[in-house]
């Protein structure tokens, strides 16, 4: 009967409900897996630069959160994780709009569509107000981000690819003012890692010309991309454009082995997207930005701030990126867990 489901599903595909905001920044408890992902590059008044990642996961009733802080100037990377049941006052996400929290970390709707983030870790208490520079983008074709051929192997995936960040990091009585650029991803779906895939590489590039590129490579055991890898280009102005994987060339040019998990991660890439004339090299700002989240998702992954350098249509271009690498540390693959 599998084919009937497949046909029925295919018939349902175009009927995916439209995404509306601010409602769809809120939670979608009808699907099992959902996450709100903030990454960004910040600098303080003294010219020091930082990277941050603040993620709220929801897996059915369980709410997890990761906060990673990359102190580029001092070459330090530290992270904190939290796991709770979805209980009021402990960890929750409302459906009406953006209001997701885990203990005293939160992402909430601020005035004029801003996202207000709070999180704390060993480096201090972070408070950021993120003002969207661009409208939300819905990735994938027909508003569905396909992950595999199966009927449940898709998600709804929304990004705000550029937000202006302003805030502070407070440590004791000291308060470091911060400003920079952030990226927001919100994805919800079945959370199933498609059959035949072992992990994924995710790239979020913010280029100096005001455009952004998201690339998503679903990896087969041999390291090659599955048919469901794809991307999105967001031009400085105007509508986002879907990028087919056939349009992308991705090569790894260096590797780094984690002394803790023994996982061997790619540590430099060359990415070329012919349709937009982009050819860039991506390098981590720090080699070690690995998270071993045994206390929450149980997944070991690498997620870090990177620099981008290359050319676009022959002219030099630079930028910043966040890269996420999963499925390199043995069996600890996200998705299989749930």
């Amino acid at each position: 009967m599998k084919w009937i489901r497949a046909v029925a599903f295919a018939a349902l595909l175009p009927a995916a409900p439209p995404v509306t905001f601010p409602r769809d920044h809120g939670a979608h408890p009808e699907v099992p897996v959902e996450w709100w992902y903030y990454t960004g590059h910040l600098s303080d008044g003294a010219g020091r630069s930082y990277g941050f990642q603040l993620t709220f996961f929801r897996v059915r009733d369980v709410h997890l959160a990761h906060f990673a802080w990359t102190d580029v100037s001092r070459r330090k990377f530290r992270y904190v994780e939290k796991t709770h049941l979805g209980l009021p006052g402990i960890a929750s996400a409302i459906e009406e709009g953006l209001d997701v929290s885990n203990e005293d970390w939160s992402a909430r709707q601020g005035p004029a569509g801003a996202h207000v983030l709070t999180a704390s870790g060993p480096d201090g208490e972070l408070e950021l107000t993120l003002t969207p520079v661009k409208a939300p983008v819905l990735h994938g074709e027909n508003g569905l981000s396909r992950k595999g051929a199966g009927p449940r192997e898709f998600s709804r995936y929304v990004s705000i690819t550029r937000l202006a960040a302003r805030g502070s990091l407070a440590r004791g009585t000291r308060r470091e003012p911060l400003s920079g650029t952030a990226w927001f991803d919100h994805e919800w779906g079945s959370g199933v890692l498609p059959a035949g895939a072992v992990g994924w590489d995710w790239f979020a590039l913010q280029l100096d010309d005001g455009s952004e590129l998201m690339l998503y490579r679903m990896r087969k055991p041999d390291g090659s991309a599955t048919a469901f890898s794809s991307g999105t280009v967001v031009p400085p102005r105007g509508a986002a454009v879907h990028v087919a994987w056939s349009d992308v060339r991705l090569a790894e040019s260096a590797h780094w082995t984690s002394p803790r998990s023994r996982a061997r991660y790619p540590a430099a890439w060359r990415i070329a997207v012919a349709s937009i004339g982009l050819d860039v090299e991506i390098e981590p700002l720090l080699p070690d930005q690995e998270l071993e989240t045994s206390a929450s998702t149980g997944v070991t992954y690498w997620e870090g701030a990177c620099r981008v350098k290359g050319t676009r249509s022959g002219r030099p271009i630079a930028g910043r990126a966040y890269v996420e690498l999963t499925g390199y540390a043995g069996k600890d693959v996200p998705g299989t867990a749930f």
Partner: protein, 855 residues
């Protein structure tokens, strides 16, 4: 120093080497006493320790705990959000279930917020090891269990565990194994840890948790935090110090502890008398040697020291053996005890073997102290032996005889004081003065027993002489002649037997009262309760939906959904709240009221006026009676009710406030049911109705359906199991004291070798001498029995009339179980006759020529 060594060798070590068996006897006596004390303390401590440990495991590191009259609603947790800035907090749902894997064991279920646990409670996952597998633990319906528990039941990761809980049969999946530390130590490790939602679903507690534990970061102000929590909490919720639960847990085992302590001190007293007995016998026996030593220049002090050393050595050796025996006994007692405690106090509680050090010390101290005290008098007696004239026994007996009058006066004074103390109120909720009265009765008994021995000898002289001729005459002469020695043995036996008789009477009175109470208060024809497995006690509760199911069964006349739960009064003192449909009570009647009024009419009036009934323990504990006010913390805040009546109850020694179900639902909003009482229509038999109800509920609910008769039997069975230990210890006390008699008689037989020799030389037959010694033993038994009956009556009166009501608030209708008492008495008389066998043989075997040549 050299002189003392000589004295010691002449009086103690020399005789000890020559007669090792006789030296060993008092050691055995002390050993038995110490073993009993050690065993009781081991058992006692293990029980309390297991309760405490369980409470500690659950409380973890928490500084405060937020609790509510009906748990803590989930939306109230929201108000604690501010705490994340200064600490963390973790909700907990707890309950129990029955394992349906064929063992029928009761297992605790704890629902936690896994992620919050690290801060509040320790939980160490042993397996699985990989992150991804661990993440799977988070899926619903998955449980973690201690590795020891899993291996005992053959569960491994992925196993499905069948449970019945909350009146429903269900399954959970093993997701991981825990090291036996931290939270996993709760309930002795018989525990399933899961998430709050799964536990709530299993236990029928969705929408609220039982408690929220709060841990503050170091450096934050506990007082400020507590005030702030209290300020934010809605009515019906309160914040309390985390230690309180552990205290309450300790209190739970109080009834049980009382039982053991009373018997423990008794055995100790008997042990003391045995040591005193042994030493005084050796003093009496060695009077000639003492006299010789004194005339050779030994000082009084060295004589005293020699006997003190002997007593202490006996005590030390006995203590050593006793400690070993105590450990063995404790193991036996623990398995017996675990049945009683588990079934009565906490279905899933288990005995832990923790903390063996303190009981060992306690028993050692008891052994050493009691043998020291026991030695004082006889050793002092020894110093009074004058150098020359004491070459013959008998002179001390005259001294003692002169002292009988002041003894009688002192005994009378002790009894009068005991009577006065028995009227006093409890001190700090505990009947210390009642126990003091018991001690005074013991003192009176000890004072009066030489008189009793003499009276016994005097009053039976003619009778025995007529019945047994010369042997009878000899027996009374022997018995009355060795007054001091026999008095001590008789005291020990009278004390043990008296306590035993009192215990038999008390337990029988309790049982009879409970039986009568069960009959009058369990009026329903059929009962439906959650499936309880092996424990036999109530495990968990039932969903409200069961009530209409039961109502719809043909032949059902009325249904009373009964709810029993933990609650507290307005000032936070823990008690039990019960809810019952007063309309059914008004129709069928309920537990009898103390003032004898009709329980039907009272229930009807209470329902109309929204008043409550309270149990007798409640009335005693809070000093209230009909017309007074009872207060309760409810989810709607504190409420007060007028008390419409006080009923007899044995279910809770904390006291129960009984509400009409509609009033309870209104205040507590808790529709769950602890058990359902069902009245049959006229002409429908209970067995018939039970069959119909079983059929109607089958497959829908996991319940036990019992008829009234079965339930009554179950209640009495639990009662008997609770007192099984008591019975075992009664036996020990009697064995110990009969051994004392044997000891005393062997001693005197050996000592009287010369008399026996003389008697034989004068023509007494072996048979006559043997009969005389046997009769002497029997006489000791009879005198001890007479004293024991008198003392036992006093003990029983104190236990039933003072100690029990003051300890638990339970009053009993006294009942004298003649048959069992008579059986105990005849057993003791037979045993004392048997105790005369060995000394009888020794006496009869005396060679007249040899004995006389010693002269």
């Amino acid at each position: 120093m050299k002189g003392f060594r000589l004295v010691l060798s002449a009086l103690v070590t020399g005789p000890g080497r020559r007669r090792p068996i006789r030296a060993l006897l008092p050691v055995v006596g002390v050993a038995i006493g110490v073993a009993a004390v050690a065993a009781i303390h081991h058992a006692n401590r293990s029980v309390i320790e297991s309760f405490r440990e369980s409470a500690r495991a659950v409380a973890g590191r928490s500084d405060f705990v937020v609790v509510g009259a009906r748990g803590v609603p989930l939306d109230a947790i929201e108000r604690l959000r501010f705490l994340w800035r200064i600490g963390s907090f973790a909700p907990l749902v707890s309950g129990s279930a029955v394992l349906e894997d064929g063992t029928g064991e009761v297992v605790s279920i704890l629902g936690t917020d896994y992620g919050a646990e690290g801060a509040v409670r320790e939980m160490r996952l042993v397996a699985p090891a990989t992150g991804a597998e661990r993440a799977r633990l988070l899926s619903s319906g998955t449980v973690l269990l201690p590795i020891s528990f899993a291996s005992r039941h053959g569960f491994r990761i992925g196993s499905r565990i069948p449970l019945s809980t909350g009146g429903v049969r269900t399954q959970v999946t093993v997701g991981g194994l825990l090291a036996l530390s931290g939270l996993a130590r709760a309930a002795g490790g018989d525990i399933l840890v899961t998430d709050v939602f799964t536990a709530g679903r299993l236990l029928g507690k969705s929408g609220f948790v039982d408690r929220v534990d709060v841990v503050l970061d170091p450096g934050s102000s506990a007082d400020a935090a507590r005030r702030e929590i209290a300020r934010r909490l809605p009515p019906g919720l309160s914040v309390e110090p985390a230690g309180r639960a552990a205290l309450a847990a300790g209190r739970m085992a109080r009834a049980f502890r009382f039982n053991l302590n009373a018997l423990g001190s008794l055995t100790l007293l008997v042990g003391m008398f045995l040591v005193a007995n042994a030493v005084s016998i050796s003093v009496l026996r060695r009077r000639p040697e003492i006299a010789t030593l004194r005339s050779l220049g030994a000082s009084r002090a060295s004589i005293f020291a020699a006997f003190a050393v002997e007593g202490l050595a006996v005590g030390a050796a006995g203590t050593l053996f006793g400690e070993v025996g105590g450990l063995v006994l404790a193991r036996i007692a623990l398995s017996a005890v675990s049945g009683t405690v588990s079934s009565v106090y906490a279905p899933a509680a288990k005995i832990s073997a923790a903390g063996f050090g303190a009981p060992v010390l306690a028993a050692a101290a008891a052994g050493a102290l009691s043998s020291f005290l026991a030695v004082l008098l006889p050793a002092a007696e020894a110093t009074r032996v004058p150098p020359a004239p004491a070459m013959r026994p008998g002179s001390t007996e005259q001294v003692r005889r002169r002292r009988l009058r002041p003894r009688a006066a002192a005994a009378a004074l002790a009894l009068v004081t005991a009577a006065v103390l028995s009227r006093a109120n409890p001190v700090a909720g505990f009947p210390y003065l009642g126990f003091a009265a018991v001690a005074l009765v013991v003192v009176a008994l000890a004072l009066v027993s030489p008189i009793a021995v003499r009276a016994g000898a005097a009053s039976t002289r003619l009778l025995l002489a007529r019945l047994f001729g010369p042997a009878g005459r000899l027996a009374t002469a022997f018995f009355g002649g060795s007054l001091a020695r026999n008095a001590v043995a008789v005291t020990a036996l009278a004390m043990a037997l008296g306590m035993t008789l009192a215990m038999i009477t008390t337990v029988a009175s309790m049982r009879e009262t409970v039986r009568a109470w069960v009959e009058s208060s369990l009026r329903a024809d059929v009962w439906v309760r959650p499936a309880s497995g092996r424990a036999g006690a109530v495990v968990g509760d039932l969903p409200a939906e069961i009530v209409p199911f039961v109502q719809s069964v043909a032949g059902v006349a009325a249904v009373d959904p009964i709810r029993i739960r933990e609650a507290s009064d307005a000032s936070g003192r823990a008690l039990t709240v019960g809810a019952s449909d007063f309309r059914v009570l008004a129709r069928a009647g309920g537990a009898p009221l103390l003032d004898g009024r009709d329980s039907r009419k009272t229930a009807e009036a209470a329902r109309r006026e929204r008043e409550v009934l309270v149990s007798e323990p409640y009335a005693r504990r809070f000093g209230t009676s009909r017309g007074d006010v009872a207060s309760l913390r409810t989810p709607k805040g504190p409420r007060s009710f007028r008390i419409a009546g006080v009923y007899r109850d044995f279910t809770s020694d904390r006291g129960t406030v009984l509400l009409d179900r509609s009033l309870y639902l209104d205040l507590f909003g808790d529709t769950r049911v602890t058990s359902v009482g069902i009245l049959a229509r006229d002409g429908v038999s209970a067995d018939d109705l039970r069959r119909r109800i079983r059929t109607a509920l089958h497959g829908r609910f996991a319940v036990d359906v019992t008829t009234n008769r079965e339930l009554r039997r179950q209640v009495l069975r639990i009662f008997d199991r609770t007192f099984a230990v008591t019975r075992a210890l009664e036996g020990i006390a009697v064995v110990v004291s009969v051994l004392g008699i044997a000891n005393a008689l062997v001693g005197s037989a050996v000592e009287r070798r010369r008399s026996f020799g003389l008697l034989r030389a004068l023509g007494a037959s072996r048979g006559q001498i043997r009969s005389a010694v046997l009769l002497e033993a029997l006489l000791a038994g009879v005198v001890a029995t007479v004293a024991a009956v008198a003392a036992g009556a006093a003990f029983a009166a104190l236990l039933i009339g003072v100690i029990n009501p003051q300890s638990f608030g339970w009053s009993f209708v006294p009942r004298v179980p003649i048959g069992r008492l008579a059986a105990a008495v005849s057993l003791v008389l037979l045993a004392s006759l048997a105790a005369g066998l060995v000394p009888g043989r020794i006496a009869a075997a005396t060679d007249p020529a040899a004995a006389l040549s010693e002269e």
